[in-house]
Subunit: 404 residues, 2 copies
């Protein structure tokens, strides 16, 4: 497997674009993105578990009932959620786009991100469709990625190539997500394309299995958004032998998918609202995977741990505390904790109690911008990994006055 | 029922003191507190549900097995948790105090609060015991309250008088708690005294019932501490007819207890680390009490809601979002939201969707330091209330570098 460039346009047959259509006031910010496949794709998506669901998700779910799609359209600046006519607006957008593309309306995936609770006027979107379609190119992934950004400060894009039965396949993804991100299913907007031939049933299986160890293990602030969606389109244009059952080819596909998703997870965590550091919590020796995940997520979600990491303070007692209240089955007298980064590694807790360590070395380790919180348990063999970020002044600043 | 002064010394037969013994470096901060009853008390306590438990709690639990106590000793500056010899240190402290007071060691309640994971040297505590005991007075509640403060900025003390069978009884409480506070049982240190005569069984019942609607509904930062404890001592010196069964007298006692606990809850929420505003989330119309509580807590715990309140931003979409991911049974299309404060009231959401409202009026309402987030549902008749605070720059500052 190899990391390549091109994002969602890396696979054969996908073109993309992103424009400013006028939903956002700032004209230098793109607010509308489109990804188009030159033929029908097997399609699968997972959605937020929030009971308050964005109207576009309802429409997308309906459109993907048959597992087939051609295009993804997504706006930023308005979540089209908790308003009176959200579903009509989303359907209208799909219909207008479908007509211009000459495809059936139910082959369109639609998504929105931005402020909740305000009506979405479809006028700028529809007025912008000709420009959006006219600008579709096979190097448009970055423009599409820009079109879905909100408080993101970094464009999130990745692609890989992999080999199925001697044929090179490619997979690419773009993502947005910075605040309102929490492990509980699809926790942001992620669009993944691949030219690998795979049935929609197996694509579905791959995605649902993958997110349990990728996007569901990311937390920026504990708030599960109303609009999050991870969608994969597979158009089969690589012409590999089609993946129709579990086995080696499916395993290779899963590995490619996981490379793309974990890569996007790390980008999203690192770009958490106001974040200065990406945190990775690794748990080993847990009694089973479920408990390992509970512990990793509890630590990565703790405001006190997050604030300590911001301050480069090796306050491991807060890690122990977060393990203790996680609800996981764990022998706390067997817990070990180390902090790791490019600058080195420092062990701070053994057998559930503090050990002498150099505060200077700890500070050096924690001053880096990627920190691993390594937790070893004595309960079993299971492992888990979760990603998050530090809690900073800027998180408060960004969220203290987001709308105005 | 009447609010009175005197804190834990308001009831007959209780004296208290707080001194600086030397655990904390800052000599102007008291770090050791003692509350003593002149006779044996019925005693009950509830403890943190965190699996990582402070050593003092283990000792206190043992000592309260018979439901009898005479005194409470508590230090700040070191949590005596996650170290090698915490239980021995806590037992030793109790033994030294008991000897000087001339009471049995197992009548001592012991508690600690402060940094986790460092050994607690009992030397300054034991050296300070004579001064601590020598200074016990019937107006010492404030000194004791100061002795248990950590990052608290405000002393937390309350007392009430109430009437049982024509006899005046009194109840008083002190509390500490500012960070690492979250609804999941005893979420801080709270010591309550009363001269009301009541059996230890009913005292236990009253406390366990009360905390479900008081301390378990407070959240500052979602982190459940390792050392939290709510303890009530009832010495019977008011000489009322003893409360031995549920009925009117018990109901009066419960009401007094709830007045004391909710009052302390509000003080703790208002003094949350870095807080500039106290938030109260009221839920009505829920399908049952359990669901009402889940919703109230989810809203009060949302980082995004908390940051919006800091910025006086009427971003009600985040309230809807927190209701949606709470896991509660709720018809989101029936949700109504209003913000209230001394400055007035503003309705912002009806039937699950936004309504037109004046941003200026909303700002005025939200600029106050006590905000009610009033949520009305259409699912049933149940209500709940939760307390919290805004998320501010200072929370990050306080917790980014707590130890050093």
């Amino acid at each position: 497997m190899e990391i390549i460039s091109g994002g969602v346009c890396a696979p054969l047959g996908f073109i993309a674009n992103g424009i400013h259509c006028g939903i956002r006031k700032n004209k230098s910010k793109r607010d509308l993105a489109l990804i188009l496949s030159s033929c029908d794709c097997a399609a699968s998506a997972v959605y937020t578990t929030n009971k308050v669901k964005g109207a576009p998700l309802t429409v997308t779910k309906r459109h993907l009932a048959d597992g087939v799609a051609r295009a993804i359209i997504c706006n930023s600046g308005n979540a089209n959620t908790c308003n009176a006519n959200g579903i009509e607006v989303a359907e209208y957008t799909c219909a207008q786009l479908a007509q211009r593309l000459g495809v059936e309306k139910d082959k369109i995936v639609v998504a929105s991100t931005g402020v909740i609770g305000q009506p979405l006027d479809p006028t700028p979107i529809v007025s912008g469709l000709d420009e959006l379609i006219g600008g579709l190119t096979d190097d448009g992934s970055q423009r599409a990625a820009e079109g879905i950004m909100t408080t993101d400060t970094v464009l999130k894009e990745v692609a890989v190539s992999f080999n199925i039965g001697g044929v090179e396949c490619k997979m690419g993804g773009i993502a947005k997500g910075s605040g309102m991100i929490h492990p509980n299913m699809a926790t942001m907007l992620v669009f993944i394309t691949t030219d690998c031939a795979i049935t929609s049933e197996l694509l579905d299986k791959a995605l649902k299995s993958d997110i349990r160890n990728s996007f569901n293990m990311v937390s920026v602030d504990g708030d599960t958004s109303t609009n999050d969606c991870v969608c994969v389109l597979a158009n089969g244009m690589a012409d590999n032998r089609k993946i129709t059952e579990e086995g080696d080819d499916f395993a290779t596909f899963m590995k490619a998918l996981n490379t793309v998703t974990v890569s996007l997870c790390r980008m999203i965590a690192a770009d958490g609202e106001g974040a200065t550091k990406m945190l990775e919590c690794k748990v080993s020796g847990a009694v089973d995977e479920a408990n390992a995940k509970i512990i990793a997520k509890s630590v990565i979600c703790s405001s006190l741990v997050k604030a300590a990491m911001f301050g480069s303070d090796a306050n491991w007692g807060r890690v122990l505390c977060a393990i203790g209240y996680s609800g996981a089955e764990v022998d706390v007298s067997g817990v070990g904790v180390s902090f790791k980064s490019r600058a080195g590694e420092i062990e701070v807790c053994k057998d559930g109690a503090g050990i002498d360590f150099s505060e200077d070395v700890a500070k050096q380790v924690l001053l880096e911008d990627e920190i691993v919180i390594d937790i070893t348990l004595t309960d079993g063999e299971a492992t888990a990994c979760a990603w998050g970020c530090d809690l900073t002044y800027d998180y408060v600043k960004i969220n203290g006055d987001y709308r105005t």
